[in-house]
């Protein structure tokens, strides 16, 4: 599990060996940080079919792949991060916290450890060390720094942004929004205003709001 990711490409984690627990740090350019994928053809994405359930729509083209991190210099244990997240993983396998108010689902936030993984996967993709784009994009560092989100920890921003990004991807398909509306209890996912603001500005090519002092 990653603990901190820095803009300059360094990231911190702990050795998972039960007798070691050494604090470790590495850089994304380290040769030991590598994308390991299964020697098989990528799974083709299915065309949209309204008869199929939402969660079977997207199979990851990186199915089975992991990202290897540098081994612990003390015990030799090596950590591998899951890199083949699918929609099913995110929606069905306890990756999201659900905010419920008055008996209705008002929004989602991703568990921080998954959000950090997505951040690192996107950074690796940006430097060409990942063979395919991760399931979900993260907000660029510049966009965060220029918005009101800059005061928040990076993983918290990602935790709120990633479920929103997932909804944005899935509702591109006609008919799928009905599933999401049902999932959300008829409510639009409630997100921090800054997250939505940044996304809207990016989508419409507008200028980001000036930093407030």
């Amino acid at each position: 599990m990653l603990e901190t990711i820095y803009e300059d490409g360094y990231f911190a984690y702990h050795c998972h060996d039960e007798d070691c627990h050494t604090a470790l740090c590495a850089h994304i350019s380290d040769s030991a940080v590598e994308h390991l994928h299964m020697p098989q053809a990528p799974v083709p994405m299915r065309p949209f079919d309204p008869e199929r359930p939402l969660l079977s729509l997207r199979a990851s083209p990186m199915q089975g792949s992991v990202v290897g991190l540098p081994p612990c210099p003390h015990c030799g244990s090596r950590m591998f991060l899951k890199a083949d997240y699918s929609v099913r993983n995110v929606m069905k396998e306890k990756m999201l916290h659900t905010f419920v108010s008055d008996g209705r689902v008002r929004g989602y936030a991703m568990e921080l450890r998954y959000a950090r993984s997505f951040r690192l996967l996107n950074m690796l993709y940006d430097v060409g060390k990942l063979k395919a784009r991760p399931l979900l994009p993260v907000l660029p560092f510049d966009a965060i720094k220029q918005s009101e989100l800059r005061g928040l920890p990076l993983d918290v921003v990602d935790a709120f942004w990633l479920p929103y990004a997932l909804c944005g991807r899935v509702i591109d398909y006609e008919g799928i929004d009905q599933h999401l509306i049902a999932l959300g209890g008829g409510m639009t996912p409630l997100l921090p205003i800054g997250t939505v603001l940044v996304h809207e500005k990016m989508r419409h090519g507008g200028e980001l709001p000036p930093p407030s002092h």
Binding site: H16, M38, V66, G76, S77, E93
Partner: protein
């Protein structure tokens, strides 16, 4: 992790039941540890051997897995790696460094949920 046994004649509470549930379905941030071992013949250099590790915990996507070779250092094998990390488990593979009848490796694994 120490487990609390439930005795006859006493009331059991949620924490006692949850200790069982937390084995079957790891809570957020929980880990599952175990041991792995692989041994098979490699008919030539770079032949791949592997083994499937089945997770006991279901319901939550794993975020990472760590493996070491503390039990058996790789013999006629390169450094083992993992693949296909899912809710149900993962796969450990290693490539042979030569044609051999007895390449082997083994150690501990820790799945982080």
């Amino acid at each position: 992790m120490s487990l609390t046994l439930i005795t006859n004649g006493t009331l059991s509470d949620a924490s006692q039941l949850n200790q069982v549930i937390n084995v079957l379905m790891q809570p957020s941030g929980g880990t599952e540890a175990g041991r792995w071992f692989v041994e098979a013949g490699t008919y030539e250099t770079n032949s791949t051997i592997g083994c499937d590790i089945i997770s006991r915990s279901y319901g939550g996507a794993a975020v990472s897995v760590s493996i070491d070779t503390s039990d058996t250092s790789p013999t006629s094998l390169g450094t083992p790696t993992t693949q296909a990390l899912t809710t149900g488990g993962f796969y450990i593979i290693a490539s042979g460094t030569s044609a051999s009848h007895t390449p082997r490796a083994g150690g501990r694994y820790t799945i982080q949920n």
